[in-house]
């Protein structure tokens, strides 16, 4: 994905939020027991009203508290089924969007760390870094034997998508590094094995399974999106906007959530 300009992230989040808000409300409407949810919510409201109406009768009030807890549990259980339908695709989508909007690429002239975690601390002394043109080392490697980790401080000299090679003994392990601006697909870490963790945080293929390097990571700065005069992490902005869109569409479509 190429650079899309500085104001694009908020536009993307707004667009995704509207579409997801609509889609999720529709999915919720079709996959949930609308009548049961309506009744469950009404019961919940009734028990809340009972607290006020019968406030001088402590037995009624206590019973109402208990019923509120039970009704809430019942409501959550009813909302759980449609949640199952949406949670997998939404999680997949959010993971993918997070790769574009979760962090910003390194900028030219910025120093950053690249770290490799190696199985055998003995091999730390045999690790070295092969840098492409456009990236340069600014300090000698730092060994952390207690953590089985080695770190290099680098500087990004100009924009571009680079592959940095970590050499351990005679093995080479590549890691992508992106220098530039705007919205680009970033992979902060490359992992060996760990399917679920890799699914959620890495955008690169797995490191070879029976080799010595466990993980290589690059520390990209977190992205802050300016929206409505506030700096947002994209997931919070998505939360607020998709909720607002959901409220809007549920009212328009008459779907009980």
């Amino acid at each position: 994905m190429g650079s899309l300009g500085i104001n694009i992230p908020s536009g993307i989040v707004v667009g995704i939020s509207l579409v997801i808000g609509l889609a999720m409300v529709l999915v919720f409407g079709y996959t949930s027991d609308q009548k049961a949810i309506h009744i469950a919510k009404d019961r919940l409201k009734a028990h809340l009203l009972a607290l006020r109406l019968f406030q001088d009768q402590i037995r009624v009030v206590l019973r109402s508290y208990l019923r509120i807890v039970l009704a809430t549990g019942h409501y959550l259980r009813l909302a759980f089924k449609p949640l199952l339908f949406v949670i997998v695709p939404i999680t997949f989508l959010i993971v993918q969007v997070d790769r574009y909007l979760g962090s910003v690429p390194l900028s030219a002239g910025q120093t950053f760390l690249i770290q490799a975690r190696i199985d055998d601390p003995e091999l730390l002394n045999q690790a070295s870094l092969q840098l492409p043109t456009g990236l340069a080392s600014t300090a000698p490697a730092v060994h952390e034997p207690a953590e089985n980790r080695i770190a290099w401080r680098l500087i990004a000299e100009r924009a571009g998508e680079y592959a940095v090679n970590v050499q351990v003994a005679d093995q080479l392990f590549a890691k992508s590094v992106v220098v530039g601006s705007g919205v680009q697909r970033l992979s902060p870490v490359r992992l060996r094995g760990k399917f679920w963790e890799r699914f959620f945080v890495s955008a690169e293929p797995a490191l070879p399974a029976n080799k010595s390097v466990e993980a290589i990571d690059v520390q990209y700065p977190a992205r802050e999106i300016a929206f409505a005069g506030v700096e947002w992490n994209w997931i919070w902005l998505f939360f607020v906007l998709s909720m607002a869109a959901g409220f809007l569409f549920k009212s328009i479509l008459g779907i009980e959530i």
């Binding site: 009404d42 919940l44 009624v60 809430t72 949406v86």
Partner: protein, 721 residues
């Protein structure tokens, strides 16, 4: 293993698998999947919000509870210290008749009432003059005669034009409005004024710190503030402001109009579907132009399945022929911010060869009440959230629709019992919520069903002559058995500290013959029509008031056309008026029906003798007591003079109580011994106040009964099996 258990187990396994999947996703370490779309967000937010509100309120309630209790203690001392009972449960069964009750007890149909009679008390309960529900229930709740509570009938007359108005409440538009062109924007809500005077006894209980739950007691609209909860009953209007206007939508062409209680609306064919509308209230922006708001609906037929699909606003539902819908929300839109919210049920009557749909009167939506129907306002909302939408109209059982043959017996009964079941749910909720204090609930079903099905009980009723006796349904027998079963369930809920009282406002008799009293007055020369006229229109159209000395409207009231009171009065107050009253009493008392040779009027009562209080001037001059089998004719009630004085009543409305009050006492059952031999409905209020240890206000007309409270009756009070 049973099928049900297998399903339950499979359901649990599925639930466990789902839970595991969700846990897997949620436990994976990343921020991005902590939120899975607005569905999850709403679910979490809503439940969090409910718990958060409950938590906040619980903190508040626990913090202030000691202070509230201290305040209550200081204000009310120990309110129950002088009380003989902890709780009073009063079940009102409108129109439950003592003679029928005794008969059905003897037949073994009413085991719980039989048990109450055996262990406690059963008496006839003297009713009011006249024996009409709004009058009697007003006396029940205030403990005073009608001269002090100002309710003499459903209707009262406007002295300036002889036209009727509802006696219990007056609803007017807002005082001010803002005119913009042809539109008039109301500034403020409607003004509702209760016309019933007197103070209900639950007001005094509330003042003393005794909590009260009051459900559907007639003439409690508009609801008055007091310390407790109340849902209004009889006299709550529908959204049109009437006492119930059903809508009959049909493709069958007809110019006939229903006499009252309903409107006929055409159904139009549009391609393969049909469309019609439900008339609603007057457009509040119309500036009094009379334009009504409407809600359109569409019908798609499926003749193969004998059903139709309805689309009303955002709701859609399918009905088979002969089936009712649930309560459907209706929004009548006048403009931005000006909506009226109602609910109605649809009944698919026919789809071939014509399409016919009955729609109940549009009830005020209890979840979004445009008029207050409860105290506090949130109580009707609470009940709606707890049990779903319910009928709020005072006269919710559509007797007019059965009278006009729009509904058949079965459909009418289904409607009655659906409403009844809603009220039962409300009653049991109120019983649970009112462990101490008063719980009073009135059921209308007994009144409506007896009105409409007495024809099957009366061996020779003109409205059921074509139905062979062997084929007549036992509707009223079943009704009493059903109420007895309800009483049994209530008996299970009460302890030996609770007083249980079953009361009815009046009894019932057959209504086989109609008496047009206006026609009699016309024949006897007391009411004069304009030259050339032999009959009048409704509401005295064509009556010559300058020569009319007496007239009647409503069910039992007879009025003198009194000079200085009526707009065109001719009878001088004083000697002439007294003389005329005596003359009318003499002539009417014992009036014989020439066709049957039976007495049609068994008593005429001077209101000056039976009423006392500040509102006596609003009362009729005489109360006419019809004999058994007789009642004011439908025309006479509506101020119409016909040529016939007596005629058969051919309508389904075949039983009535608007007769000589001595003939239709109500019932009194109690789980305690009451020593008074002649209890009256006016005594209930002082008795309850006394049992709770309160001093009786001096203005009460009733007297407190001597109730022998026994506190070791818990075993005896178990309901009959």
């Amino acid at each position: 293993m049973t099928f049900g258990r297998k399903v339950l187990l499979a359901d649990r396994r599925r639930f466990a698998a789902c839970l595991a999947l969700l846990a897997l996703i949620l436990l994976c370490p990343t921020r991005s999947h902590a939120y899975a779309g607005p569905g999850a967000g709403f679910a979490v937010l809503s439940s969090f919000w409910a718990l958060f509100v409950a938590f906040l309120y619980s903190v508040y309630a626990f913090l202030v509870w000691p202070f509230r209790q201290l305040f209550r203690l200081l204000r009310h001392r120990n309110v129950y210290a002088k009380a003989e009972i902890k709780r009073a449960v009063i079940l009102g069964f409108d129109g439950m008749d003592p003679e029928l009750t005794e008969r059905f007890i003897a037949e073994g149909r009413l085991p719980n009432l039989a048990k109450l009679r055996g262990q406690g008390t059963f008496r006839k309960l003297a009713t009011t003059y006249p024996a009409i529900s709004p009058v009697a229930w007003s006396t029940f709740m205030t403990g005073v005669n009608p001269g002090k509570h100002n309710i003499y009938d459903f209707l009262a007359r406007d002295l300036s034009n002889y036209l009727p108005y509802l006696s219990s409440a007056e609803i007017k538009g807002p005082n001010r409005s803002w005119k913009i062109g042809k539109y008039s924007i109301p500034l403020g809500g409607p003004k509702i004024k209760g016309m019933r005077r007197g103070i209900p006894f639950w007001h005094w209980l509330g003042e003393a710190g005794i909590f009260c739950s009051v459900l559907r007691v007639p003439v409690t609209f508009p609801p008055e503030k007091f310390s407790g909860v109340l849902l209004s009953g009889m006299c709550v209007p529908d959204l049109k402001g009437s006492q119930g206007t059903f809508c009959f939508c049909t493709t069958r062409p007809s110019n006939d109009k229903f006499r009252e209680g309903g409107v006929r609306v055409p159904i139009e064919r549009i391609g393969s579907s049909f469309a019609s509308h439900i008339p609603g209230p007057e457009n509040p922006l119309g500036g009094g132009s009379g334009d009504e708001l409407r809600v359109r609906f569409e019908i798609r037929l499926d003749p193969a399945k004998n059903e139709a699909r309805f689309a009303v606003d955002s709701a859609s539902f399918t009905l088979k022929v002969g089936e009712y819908s649930e309560w459907i929300p209706l929004k009548f839109k006048a403009g931005v911010g000006f909506n009226a919210h109602g609910i109605a049920r649809f009944y698919l009557k026919e789809i071939y060869p014509e399409v016919e749909v009955y729609v109940t009167p549009v009830n005020i939506d209890p979840g979004r009440p445009d008029l207050p129907i409860s105290h506090p306002v949130t109580y009707s909302i609470y009940l709606e959230k707890m049990f779903g939408p319910y009928a709020t109209l005072g006269l919710a059982e559509d007797t007019w629709a059965l009278n006009e043959k729009v509904l058949d017996d079965e459909a009418f009964l289904a409607q009655c019992y659906a409403n009844h079941e809603d009220r039962e749910r409300m009653l049991f909720d109120a019983l649970e919520k009112t462990q101490q204090g008063l719980c009073a609930c009135v059921f209308d079903t007994t009144d409506r069903v007896q009105h409409m099905f007495w024809r099957y009980l009366d061996e020779d009723h003109p409205a059921a002559r074509e139905v062979p006796r062997a084929e007549r349904p036992t509707v009223i027998q079943d009704l009493y058995a059903r109420m007895d079963e309800l009483i049994g369930r209530v008996m299970k809920q009460i302890d030996d500290q609770t007083l249980l009282m079953i009361v009815s406002d009046h009894g019932f008799k057959s209504f086989a013959r109609c008496v047009n009293l206006n026609a009699w007055l016309h024949h006897a020369g007391y009411l004069v029509l304009k030259p050339g006229k032999t009959e009048s229109g409704d509401w005295f159209d064509d009556v010559d008031w300058s020569r009319t000395r007496a007239y009647t409207m409503g069910l039992n009231g007879l009025y003198l056309n009194l000079k200085g009171r009526e707009h065109e009065g001719v009878v001088e107050p004083g000697v002439e008026a007294e003389s005329l009253k005596n003359e009318l009493r003499r002539k009417l008392d014992g009036l014989v029906d020439p066709a049957s040779r039976r007495v049609g009027i068994t008593g005429v009562f001077d209101c000056d003798a039976v009423y006392a209080g500040p509102y006596v001037d609003n009362a009729p001059d005489l109360i006419v007591g019809y004999g058994e089998g007789y009642r004011a004719s439908w025309d006479s009630v509506m101020g119409k003079v016909t040529s016939q004085i007596f005629e058969d009543n051919l309508k389904a409305w075949s039983g009535d109580h608007c007769v000589d009050p001595r003939l239709v006492p109500g019932v009194l059952f109690c789980n305690q011994k009451i020593s008074d031999e002649k209890p009256a409905i006016v005594d209930v209020a002082p008795t309850v106040l006394k049992l709770f240890g309160l001093a009786l206000p001096g203005y009460l007309d009733g007297k407190a009964w001597t109730v022998g409270i026994s506190t070791s009756r818990s075993v005896e009070l178990s309901p009959a099996s």
